[in-house]
């Protein structure tokens, strides 16, 4: 499992709708916003890359010292972004695919307003389990 991994779902309006620290190393308190900052800046790159490729999985589009950002772009332009330090591309891809499915299930929930924050604890638990499995 990755030491550092920050997973985030960004809606099509660039709003973060889900965020989870899924690394094994506990997040440092004083570095609270670093991961957010890196992922937010990576949106610039995603925005450029999205038009140049039809692939959904864009691996390692940005790197920040030892950390790498991988992105999974969905049809509705929701982006699954992962900041990680591991190099397990296959695992990351599988992780994205599974989370994608999970997200679609969430979308099917009639009580979930698309584009709003995902607060479901079930979703959270599942994502963390997937992170343990694949990352």
């Amino acid at each position: 499992m990755a030491n550092t991994a920050c997973f985030m779902i960004v809606s099509k309006n660039d709003i973060p709708i889900y965020e989870a620290e899924v690394g094994t190393v506990p997040k440092k308190e004083d570095a609270a916003h670093q991961h957010q900052f890196i992922l937010h800046a990576a949106l610039d790159i995603v925005q450029d890359m999205a038009w140049t490729t039809s692939a959904m999985f864009l691996k390692a589009i940005d790197r920040f010292n030892d950390l790498v950002v991988s992105v999974y772009i969905k049809v509705i332009h929701t982006r699954l972004m992962l900041l990680h330090d591991s190099r397990n591309d296959d695992g990351i891809k599988s992780f994205f695919q599974e989370v994608h499915e999970l997200y679609i299930k969430t979308l099917l929930n009639p009580l979930y307003l698309p584009g709003s924050r995902i607060t479901s604890s079930h979703f959270d638990t599942k994502v963390r389990a997937l992170a343990r499995k694949y990352l």
Binding site: N13, D14, I15, P16, E29, D30, A31, A32, H33, Q34, Q36, F37, I38, H40, A41, L43, D44, I45, D48, F64, N65, D66, L67, L113, G115, S116, R117, T119
Partner: protein, 1082 residues
């Protein structure tokens, strides 16, 4: 001798196991009572051990190498073995930071390599071999190549060079190189492309690369700045922290040491460190500052110093010198010298004074600065690092360059983030105008994309700039935005500070008061549950849930909410206001607002406005019902639920008479009014009762009200009273009339009830009805018809004639006036009483007060002929009473004063009925007193008009019988009447015996056609008994029973004519005979 303690035995055992004669491996420490020198001794011992070990190992290796080098010209000699030994030794020196020794070993290795003439093929084999991978010594696993004896000349030399160079690199060479290279590249490319670019894509890419280079350069520059003590000038923002804290420290072989003559610089740096206190953040926000270093510099620098004593940790971390410790940075402990390692060749840096006091932070800064001066050859860069002002200027330039280029490449996030850094510099230098503008940009980006964590870092800075600039509107809105950020991002204390700023400003005199949008802080929604439904014109109370995101109670001086009608938009919005101040608690509040009457329609909540102090605010957002999610940017997607529905005008209450059957005239009767609310509460309703003409309300009595039981009316007559007639459900309450109004009790507000009004119809005629007005803030006017009647309908027949068989009776009126033709002595009158009420009547007495000209026969008391009282008359049934009377002498005309024109029938009776059905026992007189018996018996009086008989019928007209064959349509028939004079006509005797009698035949022209004279005179003798026949030819026109033509004598008073048949009669007219002429066959 004292027995040795137990640990002694354990220690002895350990010594036996581990120590040998050659090597003392066990060491005993008594830490029970360590004296001051104990730790020093320990340290010395440990160091001695390590040095001894290293010495021994080195001696061993050197011995081996010496042997091998002696044999190097012998055929069995293997360079690989030599290389491995030699490199191991060099590596060992490197570990021990004995770099000069290491370098010497590498040099010798190279020399030996050249001597042995083992040169191999030269040149690159793989991609990248032609490049000097100087800084990547581990690019190829060279040791492995050596093992395989397959290394190549170039690679080997390259490796050796790398190893040698590594030991000689100046401090921070890499950083300095990157900075200078970046700056050169930027200049070069910028000048190359200054004439414009070809394609937009290329241009964009160009700017992006420029931005990246700037950023890289900026990061390295910050790192250098931090190393020489300018860290306090670097904003601890997320971007700087992310860049620097993940960037490893430079790894020089040996951390630069402090030059001997630098004590004044150290003092200056220390002063700087002392003076540097972190700028307090606005609102008293206290955060652990974000790190700018990957690990603590103090430790890193001291760790990388050669042969540093572990020292005292507190001393290590105490960057600031205390009074005792400021004697001097370079005073090696005297005793250490005795144990210093006696390597003869090696003399790197300060290796000699091996056990050194750890460097303090200021010393590290100064040392780094000196080392950098040696490293940097670029004059400009040197200048930029020479003073803090220069540093800031360069830092600003680099940030601006990066930001501009990112903006041009459309990487707005990268650009805006750097704008924030520029703003921070301006902010620090109190250039608040620029700072605020740039901060605005940053905040707008983060807020627009909802990255609240990042927004929370910048927004307080913006607020501070706005406050200092006296931009009240901006400051207020920043405070509101701060308050509406996720609660976890700030402490409660900080949020309270935001709120107090808002409140403070709101109560101060603002120069340009602006409405404040608090949509994210105060949200509102209708209450859960069904919406408020009101009837047209009703006021109400609207209950609204307000969520306050303020951390403390907040007082709203006024509050108003607009209601928007959903059905018609042109109606505009209506505001409902709360007049008094409202204190909102944090979280959920339920407030109620008085709601004036609204037009019909359904309404949704519109905008919340109000005042905090003198500050007007607005809120547009509807809360989802929970405070958890404050995603106000999503609120527009929420469907708005109607909160109020005002129904179209309708009747709210139904008033109806409780009974439809008649009540007793002239008696006080209970008139029931069923008050049925129609889905509407009649709370506070007032009933106005206005008795109609001829009706009088018996105000002495209480009114009564009771619950209306459906089916009561039908059940009363049943033998088994049903359960719903239990006293509980039919509890009767008494009410009092005040000014013609009755206030309905509250318990009746939602149920159907019956109000009983004691009422008396005082007129003789039929009752006109009771108009009842219902007033419940709005007026409902309803007229209720009530039917009053006499208990009996009286009709009279002369039942018996005593001596004359030809009595002709003619009923003139149902009321009982009749006349008859012949004078009789005695006759019986049958009075037929028909009950008019739905109650059983018991007649106890009846007598007839006769008018003048009549007298009672028999006992003469006016009572009926036979006594059978009490006579019970069931509802709607008839009873007859027979009176016997005779004609008395007509009174003289002059006694007119006593003339009684009508006869009166008096009946004493009681009534037994239920007010739920109709007539009933009159409302008990309260003052009836002892003669209760009297009161119980009611008296009914009915007028009868008896006419004295007609004395002189002069003419008789008889209709002669028709032919027996019957009448047919179209067949002529002769109608014949016989007129007979019954009495001689005395007045006309003088003139002639004959009297001209005018006759007239009346027909219905639709039924009859007549031939002959319809009207004319006939002569009739004036003598009694003279008769004449008048005949006329008639043609029936229609078949059926029709009235025949009638003969009238217009000149003769009707009273003087006796007709036979006496009344109208019918004759049968047959249809015309079938005509066969059409049926004859041809």
């Amino acid at each position: 001798m004292i027995r040795p303690p137990r640990w002694q035995k354990v220690y002895s055992k350990l010594e036996v196991d581990f120590s040998s004669k050659k090597r003392e491996r066990c060491c005993k420490l008594d830490i029970n009572a360590p004296d001051a020198n104990f730790w020093d001794d320990l340290e010395t011992k440990i160091m001695e051990c390590i040095r001894n070990t290293l010495d021994r190992r080195i001696q061993f290796y050197e011995e081996e190498i010496r042997k091998l080098s002696e044999q190097r010209f012998m055929p069995v000699w293997n360079f690989c073995n030599f290389f491995i030994l030699k490199e191991s030794l060099a590596f060992m020196f490197e570990i021990a930071h004995l770099h000069e020794d290491a370098l010497r070993e590498y040099d010798e290795l190279e020399l030996c390599y050249l001597e042995t003439g083992k040169q191999r093929e030269f040149g690159g084999v793989e991609q990248g071999d032609d490049q000097a991978t100087l800084l990547e010594p581990a690019r190829k696993p060279l040791t492995q190549i050596v093992h395989d004896d397959s290394f190549r000349e170039f690679e080997f030399r390259q490796y050796l060079f790398a190893c040698q160079a590594k030991s000689m690199l100046p401090f921070c060479m890499r950083e300095v190189w990157v900075i200078t290279a970046c700056l050169a590249l930027i200049d070069a490319t910028a000048s190359h492309y200054k004439d414009g670019l070809a394609a937009p894509d290329v241009e964009k890419e160009f700017y992006r690369v420029q931005g990246e280079i700037y950023t890289l350069c900026r990061t390295k520059f910050m790192r250098l700045g931090y190393l020489i003590g300018y860290g306090s000038d670097i904003e601890r923002s997320p971007v700087n922290s992310a860049s620097l804290s993940m960037l490893p420290w430079p790894k020089p072989a040996v951390w630069p040491s402090l030059p001997s003559n630098a004590s004044s610089e150290v003092l200056a740096k220390e002063k700087m460190i002392l003076q540097d206190s972190p700028r307090p953040k606005h609102f008293g926000i206290q955060r652990k500052p974000l790190p700018l270093e990957p690990s603590v510099l103090l430790r890193e620098a001291n760790r990388r110093r050669a042969s540093l004593s572990a020292g005292n940790m507190s001393e290590l971390f105490d960057g600031r010198p205390n009074a005792n410790d400021s004697s001097g940075p370079l005073s090696p402990l005297p005793k250490v010298n005795s144990v210093s390692m006696s390597r003869t060749f090696s003399s790197p840096g300060n290796f000699e004074g091996s056990i050194d006091r750890p460097m303090r932070l200021a010393e590290i800064y100064v040392a780094a600065e000196h080392a950098l001066r040696n490293t940097i050859s670029d004059v400009k860069l040197c200048e930029s690092l020479s003073s803090i002002e220069e540093f800031e200027q360069k830092y600003l330039d680099l940030s601006k360059g990066a930001a501009n280029n990112y903006h041009r490449s459309w990487w707005k996030r990268h650009g805006v983030v750097l704008d924030g850094e520029i703003a921070a510099v301006y902010h620090k230098h109190e250039n608040y105008d620029f700072a605020a503008n740039l901060y605005e940009k940053v905040c707008a980006l983060y807020a627009g994309e909802g990255w609240e964590n990042l927004l929370a870092e910048v927004l307080p800075n913006l607020a501070e700039c706005q406050k200092i600039q006296n931009d009240q509107a901006g400051y207020l809105s920043s405070c509101v935005r701060l308050l509406s950020l996720d609660k976890g991002l700030f402490l409660t204390k900080e949020r309270q500070a935001f709120q107090s700023e808002v409140v403070r400003l709101a109560h101060s005199e603002m120069e340009h008061p602006v409405p404040l949008d608090v949509s994210s802080l105060i949200t509102f929604s209708g209450n859960q549950g069904p919406l408020l439904e009101l009837c047209d014109g009703d006021p109400g109370t609207l209950s609204v849930t307000l969520w306050s995101e303020f951390p403390d109670d907040i007082t709203l001086e006024s509050l108003s909410l607009t209601l928007t009608a959903t059905n018609n938009t042109d109606e505009g919005v209506k505001a409902i206001k709360s007049t008094e101040a409202i204190v909102l608690r944090p979280g959920r509040n339920i407030i109620t607002l008085p709601l004036p009457p609204q037009k019909p329609g359904s309404y949704v909540l519109g905008v919340l406005t109000g005042q905090i102090g003198q500050l007007r605010f607005r809120s547009h957002s509807f809360s989802k019902g929970g405070p958890a999610d404050s995603d106000d940017f999503l609120s527009y997607e929420k469907p708005t639920r109607p909160i109020l529905k005002v129904a179209n005008p309708r009747s709210l209450v139904d008033l109806a008479a409780a009974v439809s059957s008649a009540l007793l005239m002239n008696e006080s009767q209970w008139v029931g009014i069923i008050v049925r609310p129609l889905n509407y509460s009649l709370k506070g309703a007032v009933l106005h009762i206005d008795a109609g003409p001829g009706l009088r309300i018996e105000e002495r009595h209480h009114f009564e009200i009771e619950k209306h039981e459906v089916g009561t009316q039908n059940m009363t007559n049943l033998d088994n009273p049903p359960e719903n007639l239990s006293p509980v459900s039919t509890g009767v309450k008494q009410l009092t009339l005040e000014d013609g109004k009755i206030k309905l009790p509250d318990w009746t507000s939602n149920i159907t009830s019956v109000l009983w009004i004691p009422l008396r119809a005082v007129s003789d005629g039929l009752a006109k009805g009771t108009p009842a007005g219902f007033k419940c803030l709005r007026l409902l006017r309803r007229t209720i018809a009530v039917h009053f009647t006499d208990p009996f309908h009286v009709s009279i027949r002369v039942a018996d004639k005593c001596n004359d068989g030809t009595l002709l009776l003619q009923f003139l009126k149902d009321a009982g006036t009749f006349r008859y033709e012949y004078k009789t002595d005695r006759l019986s009158i049958k009075v037929i009483l028909q009950s008019q009420v739905k109650a059983s009547l018991a007649i106890y007495d009846a007598w007839l007060d006769l008018q003048d000209g009549f007298a009672h026969a028999g006992k003469g008391d006016g009572r009926p002929a036979s006594s059978f009282f009490p006579l019970i008359v069931s509802p709607k049934s008839k009873a007859g009473i027979l009176f016997s009377i005779y004609l008395a002498e007509a009174p003289a005309k002059d006694e007119a004063k006593e003339l009684q024109p009508v006869s009166i029938l008096n009946i004493k009776y009681t009534i037994c009925g239920s007010r739920n059905l109709g007539a009933h026992t009159p409302v008990a007189e309260e003052l009836s007193g002892p003669d209760n018996d009297k009161a119980e018996h009611l008296t009914f009086r009915s007028e009868l008009v008896l006419q004295r008989p007609v004395l002189d019928p002069c003419l008789a007209v008889g209709f002669l019988s028709l032919p027996s064959s019957g009448l047919r349509v179209g067949q002529l028939v002769t109608m014949t009447w016989r007129v007979e004079r019954l009495k001689a006509l005395e007045e006309k005797v003088a003139s002639d015996n004959l009297d001209e009698v005018l006759y007239e035949v009346n027909i219905n022209p639709e039924n009859w056609m007549i031939a002959g004279r319809k009207r004319g005179y006939v002569s009739l003798s004036t003598k009694q008994g003279s008769r004449i026949e008048i005949s006329i030819l008639c043609l029936p026109l229609v078949a059926g029973y029709v009235r025949p033509p009638q003969l009238g004598l217009p000149n003769v008073d009707e009273a003087n004519i006796s007709c036979n048949p006496p009344g109208p009669h019918l004759v049968c007219v047959l249809p015309p005979p079938l005509s066969s002429s059409y049926c004859v066959p041809a």
